[in-house]
Amino acid sequence: MRNLKRILILLIVGLMVGAASVTRATLSAAVVKVPDPTKVVMIVDRDSNDIAFMDIASKKIVGRTFLGNNVNPHMVMMSPDGRYVVTGGTRANKAYIIDAKTLELVKVIPVDIAPEHLAFSPDSRWYYQGNPEGDSISVIDMLSLTKIKSIPGLVEPLNTVFLPDGSKAYVGNYGAHWVGVIDVRRHELLKKIQVADVPGVAKLDPDKYLGEIKGINIPQITNDGRYLYATDTDLGVVAKIDPREDKVDKIIRVGKEPWRPYMSHDGKYLITPNNGDQTISIVDLRTDKVAATLEAGENMTGVNFAAGKAFVISSTSGFVYVYDMNSLRPAGRMKIGTNIQLETATTDTKDEKLYLADSTENAVVVIDAKTQQFEKIMNVGLYPWGTHIMDSKDNYCH
């Protein structure tokens, strides 16, 4: 009788433990919304204040992380190790850290004024959040998920690029004509690299040069990590910077008001969209000379590369201009819509499709690079501002 009682108790306990394990397993499975972070497109929805996650294969939204009212996220990025998704809330002056698998908002960190663009160190350790209105970069430690430092002394820092070894970072100051060099070990501004001579005031057009400065958007790194190329919008030049000496090696004149450089995936060329004269300049990186200057559209916000072509987004015209990167000739233009506003795009890791944010239609436009056909995925969120795919070679913002 006593033995029977023991067996019964053991059975009940066993059943309870088993049931608990099943529940736990079911719960863990339920909370993982993105099992493979490489298989989703992240969409920054500026006005619905969220990050939407769209499955690349099914083109369905599989999850959404709401950040809070009046946050206005600007740019989204996944850490290279695939653990976290981060964004800066421009109106909230905060950085947001999201678990890449469960899509839970795990930390909100106050930063400086109007955070916009951001970058990760190659080892995923440091998240540099640029604050253009605060003239600073907030340094966030991704191990403790805390802000450990603020790097002051910058002027409207727009974009940061890390060297492949993570030792230094280079900051484009849109409100100045110099690139800031950051020592990543100490998170301190080491040096200011003036990209070109600023003409004397007497020679200038006062309306243009005594107004707001439009300087450097980003010092873009070459594929081999050997040089950086930075455009200066006011000066109309591209400066080639040698990071070994932190000096300007060469200056290349391009079209009027170049926005920023975009590197082709094969590393042969860079393209600057020149909004001052509605052209693009294609610079040959072997000779550091302009290989072609081609007509383009108005208000260009980005360039993507896929299927041997370059796709240049003309934000307010509703067109995407296409160029053959072998012949360096125009290859037509795609009309995405009328009275719409296009923002920026990312390219998939197969170099086959582009995912373009169409803010006024609350859509993402999926462009097949080979056929130049496209499909609009509607209702992705309010005012999609940008897109991001892990490991894409075209992850940028505007």
Binding site: T38, S124, I148, L163, P164, T349, K350
Partner: protein, 208 residues
Amino acid sequence: MLAAAVTAAAQDPRSHTRLNPRGTRVTESQAETLTLTLGKAEVRLLQTWVRTAGTIDKTGKVLSGRVAGPEAALVKVGQRVRAFPPSSKSSMYQAYVTRVTPTPSGIAMEVTLAASGRANTTLYVLEVVVEQGPYLVVPNEAIIEEGDKHIVYVQQDGEYVAKEVHTGIQGELYTQVLEGLQADTPVVTFGSFFIDAEHKLKGTGLNQ
């Protein structure tokens, strides 16, 4: 007489003047100067990146590589790989492990790139991202090696106290803790070296 001499020689003349503190006190301003950062011992996914070299085939999409030693057992089909030629180290190619074949010294593997690789480049660095599973971990830099011992500094009642831990797998950013810490214990990460130096200035004893 001899015994007394040995005892005297064994004594550290400075030891009686040193304090033997229970912990090291660091003020808020000192902590800020040191950019002292606290993390937590917690259960997290531990990643190890297995690195090897690979050569690309004629299709320009499939890489072959070998892994020897204990790391070979970690490589499985379906794992994400970061691939890049040494001449293109700032432009990474996404890839996956598509075949694993045992060899006498370890494994041979095939890795397939998502897109075509870089033109005229045959050699690649392969970083296989191995997710080892959830373990109790602390950040790598929280651990200070002292001979055979592994020390972390934990925060207790506003003080920083050295604790010896027994460690397991060391990942890219985190190290598994087998013994010595409980989950949610605050540990010093960035700045632990300075705490350790301060601790050694005042006293050498571990407080456990």
